[in-house]
């Protein structure tokens, strides 16, 4: 992150002094092999800029035959004559990630998707909010009279539409239905809902390689899992060996705890307990 320092005199003499004053560039390597390079430079506006770069170097070795190795040392020619080795940004760039999923019948799935996106538009019906006729509300011929009487407003806001149930359950229905009114849906997720309210299990001795999805697979057989969190190293992204799993239902969580506690998972024996709220957790020894 560039940090701007106050602008000072642009006199060459002080400039030279400043350069002398500037902290030297630093390069440190931490235990995870991440190299931190800190550089101090002066930008075009005469402001000092501190640039910190964090780099991880990964060495990859490939074996090639002798002819290929020899060709890599060839001098450049033609329009590239005299260019330094390495790709030139003017001609070579790395594109956006593209995916290639190989599966049977790829073509068929695409056409069905297209049909699905087309169909709701075809079946969409125009319905007037005021008189329930088949036209847009703005073009309703009875608009002025109904609005005066106030019927339109009553219809639109206070009485829930009678066909809300079937419309919600039918796929591709165009009308928005709040989650609490959807068929089969309970209370929706609330922003204010505290995740500490949910029954949460603290799982320790988790393998480094286990991912959120792996744990979700493991625990969802006991009931609906609301959230899985794996403690990871901030730098390397490698798991630290603990995870929190929140269930929607306390009974399921209890069942999961009994079953999973002491279970072997990826050569390690899982340890599963109720998660303690932050304040109540005993200080680590």
């Amino acid at each position: 992150m560039p940090v701007e320092l106050p602008k000072t005199s642009l006199d060459w003499a002080t400039d030279a002094l400043e350069e002398f004053d500037q902290p030297r560039n630093e390069e440190t390597v931490d235990a995870n092999g991440i190299r931190t390079i800190t550089q101090y430079t002066t930008n075009e506006d005469g402001k000092k800029v501190k640039v910190t770069r964090r780099i991880r170097r990964i060495e990859k070795r490939t074996l090639v035959n002798h002819q290929v190795a020899e060709r890599k040392t060839w001098a450049k020619f033609g329009a590239e004559k005299g260019s330094k080795p390495g790709p030139d940004n003017a001609t070579t760039t790395v594109g956006e990630n593209v995916t290639l999923k190989l599966h049977a019948g790829a073509k068929n799935t695409e056409t069905t998707q297209q049909e699905q996106t087309k169909n709701p538009l075809v079946n969409k019906q125009v319905k007037c909010r005021l008189c329930q006729g088949e036209h847009f509300t703005a073009k309703c011929p009875y608009r002025e009279e109904l609005q005066l009487v106030g019927i339109g407003d009553v219809n639109a806001d206070d009485i829930p539409p009678s066909d809300a149930g079937p419309a919600a359950s039918a796929p591709g229905g165009s009308k928005y239905v709040p989650p609490s009114r959807r068929a089969g849906g309970g209370a929706g997720e609330s922003m204010n809902r505290n995740r500490d309210d949910l029954p949460t299990l603290r799982v320790t001795n988790v393998s480094e390689d286990a991912s959120e999805d792996d744990l979700r697979d493991l625990f969802s057989r006991f009931g609906k899992v609301f959230r899985v969190y794996i403690g990871r190293d901030r730098e390397t992204g490698i798991g630290k060996g603990y995870a929190f799993v929140s269930f929607e239902d306390r009974a399921n969580a209890e069942k999961a705890m009994q079953k999973v506690h002491g279970m072997g998972y990826d050569n390690l024996i899982l340890n599963c307990q109720w998660s303690q709220p932050r304040e109540a957790r005993p200080a680590p020894a």
Binding site: V68, K72, G78, L102, H103
Partner: protein, 335 residues
């Protein structure tokens, strides 16, 4: 996978070739320039400058020593791959549409266009590989004129005395290069012009693509149809992926109609088809125009596509590509 974008051409690509080891990619374009790139990182090694017209075609020998190119300026040039020097130039009355090295590197074949009162011709030259390569014979060893429909593409079979040509009418012909006579021909191979022909690694079969929206596998000896892949758009190129049972197809709507439709409808994706089951198994998007040419690394680890948009996209396959078994147990054993 993250493709490497090579922006060395100002106009649409006409052909891309990997060398035998797969470490170099040669590309030619309508902007009169041939580029050579390192395939592993997309670095441009150099350019071969000297042509004065659209370069329709390039080919490289198996030692990566000589490069041959054919252009609309009626010239065919032999280049030294390492230095970019032009070693020899042949001049013809009409443009050169396709060139190819034979399996043993000793012969080159070229197709010249039928135009301005000249008949289309196929010429075979013997390459003098001794010395610096500048001493080549001006006259072809053999020359013959295809009858009926003009030839558009060609490739040598496993031996240098036979070559396969694709024609404007959709016909395929196996010629004897020494006598110029037709050994076998398949008049109904395609319904429209054959746009590309690429041999399998052992040259026992080959793939053709055509404007009739299909690509087909043919047996080199008998020209019998082995497999057929039918798509929705005209095809400009087809390639066989070594090591895995896939076929790569490139094409898309004609360049002249591109502005009238969206990229999605244009189908400018590289399409992967299963070689045996003749079904599409995947797509890779990225080009803004039709794909003119596709080449696959000889070891099957990467592929490059060149489009009407002037870009080359080099894709190194992810591990998932090699692990994928779209048809499960029905999948054939690895080649």
């Amino acid at each position: 996978m993250r493709p490497i974008l090579l922006q060395g051409h100002e106009r649409s690509l006409t052909q891309i070739k990997y060398n035998a080891d797969g470490d170099l990619i040669f590309s030619c374009s309508k902007d009169h320039r041939i580029n050579v790139w390192y395939s592993h990182n997309g670095e441009r090694l150099g350019t071969y400058d000297g042509h004065n017209g659209t370069i329709w075609t390039v080919d490289v020998d198996s030692e990566s020593r000589f490069l041959i190119s054919g252009s609309a300026d009626n010239m065919m040039k032999l280049w030294e791959v390492k230095t970019g020097k032009c070693l020899y130039t042949w001049e013809f009355p009409t443009a050169i549409k396709r060139v190819a090295f034979s399996e043993d590197d000793n012969y080159i074949a070229c197709i010249t266009e039928q135009r301005m009162g000249y008949q289309g011709a196929i010429r075979i030259f013997q390459i003098n590989r001794k010395g610096d390569g500048k001493d080549q014979s001006k006259e072809p060893n053999f020359m013959f004129h295809p009858i009926e429909s003009k030839a558009t593409v060609l490739a040598f079979s496993a031996t240098s005395d036979q070559l396969v040509t694709g024609h404007e009418s959709g016909k395929l012909t196996l010629y004897n290069t020494k006598t110029g006579e037709e050994v076998v021909s398949n008049k109904r191979a395609h319904r429209e012009v054959v746009t590309d022909i690429q041999m399998s690694p052992d040259r026992s079969y080959f793939i053709t693509s055509s404007k009739d929206k299909s690509a087909k596998l043919y047996d080199t000896k008998t020209l019998d149809e082995l497999k057929s892949y039918t798509t929705e758009t005209p095809l400009n190129s087809a390639a066989i992926a070594p090591g895995r049972p896939y076929i790569l197809l490139g094409g898309g709507q004609e360049a002249m109609n591109v502005t009238t439709t969206s990229a999605r409808q244009g189908k400018f994706e590289t399409r992967f088809w299963h070689k045996i089951f003749e079904e599409e198994v995947g797509r890779v998007k990225g080009h803004f125009g039709p794909i003119n040419t596709i080449a696959v690394h000889p070891a099957g680890t990467s592929y490059a596509s060149g489009g009407e948009d002037g870009f080359i996209r080099v894709h190194h396959f992810d591990e998932s590509y090699f692990r994928a078994r779209p048809y499960g147990d029905m999948e054939p054993e690895e080649e």
